[in-house]
């Protein structure tokens, strides 16, 4: 039996001219897996920097809300980016697990290391402005931005509840200005006693969000004015937003 199988295998190797696969092929395969694991980790970190940008931006506004803070947080969570981050972490895990020694590590350890690395690198990228840049990039190009990526735009369009966002479309006169919301409606805004965040200057074309009081008939009293932050490039730049603004009623000029 021994002789037969040994002979059969060696003869088959000879007859079919079977050769051991070259070492570089295995090295390449392993390097490719490491590359994809690393690249997914970097993408995951970039995504985490957007999550930081989106959540930290509304943090200061949260203190000025009355009730419904929990609802505000839950509604405003960047689910799209969180799901994308989870996908990239899964890709890191898949690639790492298939490297030569990846199987030695338990799933929770790999996930934990990926999450910690994404958080640390994501924090650095956030400080470097990558989160903001990536949000601006998506806001300009993704047609589904308002509906899927950044639902906060809707969150800041509830004038009756005291939330309004848009673009300033007039010069400032006696603490009043006109603002166009994302639906293309024009609002008269009074900002007499408003707290204005130091990061912004109230001037034409500035994209802002406000907490205040609905005065009825497209009039709004601002109590706190903040930069638009995430989604600022959505206004007028995104295909969906452009459709809204095209429908805008005259006579307001830009």
């Amino acid at each position: 039996m021994t002789k037969n199988l040994e002979q059969t295998v060696l003869e088959k190797i000879k007859k079919e001219n079977i050769k051991p696969e070259p070492k570089w092929k295995f090295l390449l395969k392993n390097c490719t897996l490491w590359f994809f694991a690393g690249a997914s980790l970097v993408f995951g970190s970039m995504i985490f920097s957007v999550i930081l940008y989106m959540t930290l931006n509304d943090w200061s506004a949260l203190r000025h809300l009355g009730g419904g803070k929990f609802k505000f947080i839950m509604m405003g969570l960047p689910y799209f980016w969180i799901i994308l981050l989870a996908i990239f972490i899964a890709v890191v895990h898949y690639n790492f697990r298939n490297t030569k020694k990846g199987y030695k590590y338990r799933l929770p350890i790999i996930i934990l290391i990926s999450v910690v690395a994404s958080v640390l690198l994501g924090g650095v990228l956030y400080k470097a402005g990558i989160g903001k840049g990536l949000d601006d990039f998506t806001a300009k190009r993704a047609a589904f931005y308002r509906k899927i990526v950044n639902k906060r735009i809707d969150l800041w369009h509830r004038p009756e509840e005291g939330f309004l966002a848009g673009v300033i479309i007039s010069d400032i006169e006696k603490n009043n200005f006109q603002l166009e919301d994302f639906k293309g409606d024009a609002w008269g805004v009074i900002m007499e006693d408003a707290v204005i965040m130091p990061e912004i200057k109230i001037k034409r074309n500035e994209r802002i969000k406000m907490i205040g009081k609905f005065l009825g008939d497209y009039n709004f009293e601002a109590r706190r004015i903040m930069p638009m932050g995430p989604g600022r490039d959505w206004f007028r730049n995104n295909p969906e937003a452009r459709r809204f603004f095209r429908k805008r009623k005259p006579p307001f000029s830009r």
């Binding site: 040994e6 060696l10 199987y103 030695k104």
Partner: protein, 201 residues
């Protein structure tokens, strides 16, 4: 060179090949195919027996699978990682080959693997702490039937531990799973095995 010299030379070469470790043979096999023949000799019986235990295929089918295993091993010699035992690596390839053959082979008539010796049964009953609960002769006759009733991964790990006598590190390398997972899987497998025994009793 006389015929006697040649014969002594061949014997010397054969002795020196036998003295080589598996890992050294694997390296030499990349240069000369005859060294691979020695690897086949060393693992043929062990792997045939392992294939039959985990898949219950006939001897002929097991030989077919084993042929494919050795061809795969030869093709992948450059992928052998020095940090592993060669035996772990070859068992891993064998296990993967059996799994990929499993579906089509499962439908074929099944054969009983070889007889087990008394010491083996003594060892397994002691390790699983079922000495008092089951008659050894009964277990000897029915162990494969009991193993077949287990979850496939449980059966797999028990065979590696008790039949192939692999330690946790080797099982981890063969099944490609972390040591901690091996330990918890082993516990679950033993638990299920005991449960099946109790059901029979």
């Amino acid at each position: 060179m006389t015929k006697k010299d040649r014969s002594e030379g061949t014997n010397y070469l054969s002795d020196s090949i036998e003295g080589l470790s598996d890992e050294e043979l694997a390296k030499m096999a990349l240069v000369k195919q005859s060294f691979f023949g020695q690897i086949i000799k060393r693992y043929e019986r062990k792997l045939i027996s392992y294939i039959k235990k985990i898949s219950n295929v006939s001897h002929e089918d097991a030989e077919d699978i084993l042929q494919d295993v050795f061809i795969k091993v030869y093709k992948n010699l450059n992928d052998f990682d020095d940090s592993l035992k060669f035996s772990s690596w070859i068992y891993r390839i064998c296990r993967n080959e059996v799994i990929s053959n499993w579906r089509k082979r499962r439908a074929r008539p099944q054969n009983s693997p070889e007889e087990l010796d008394e010491n083996f049964i003594k060892g397994i009953t002691s390790d699983l702490d079922i000495e008092r609960e089951i008659d050894r002769k009964y277990l000897k006759r029915n162990i494969y039937k009991i193993l077949d009733k287990l979850d496939i991964r449980h059966k797999d790990i028990l065979i590696l531990k008790f039949f192939e006598e692999c330690d946790y590190k080797e099982i981890s390398d063969i099944m490609k799973m972390p040591m901690g997972t091996v330990a918890s899987l082993m516990n679950r497998a033993k638990k299920e095995f005991r449960k099946k025994i109790k059901k029979i009793i």
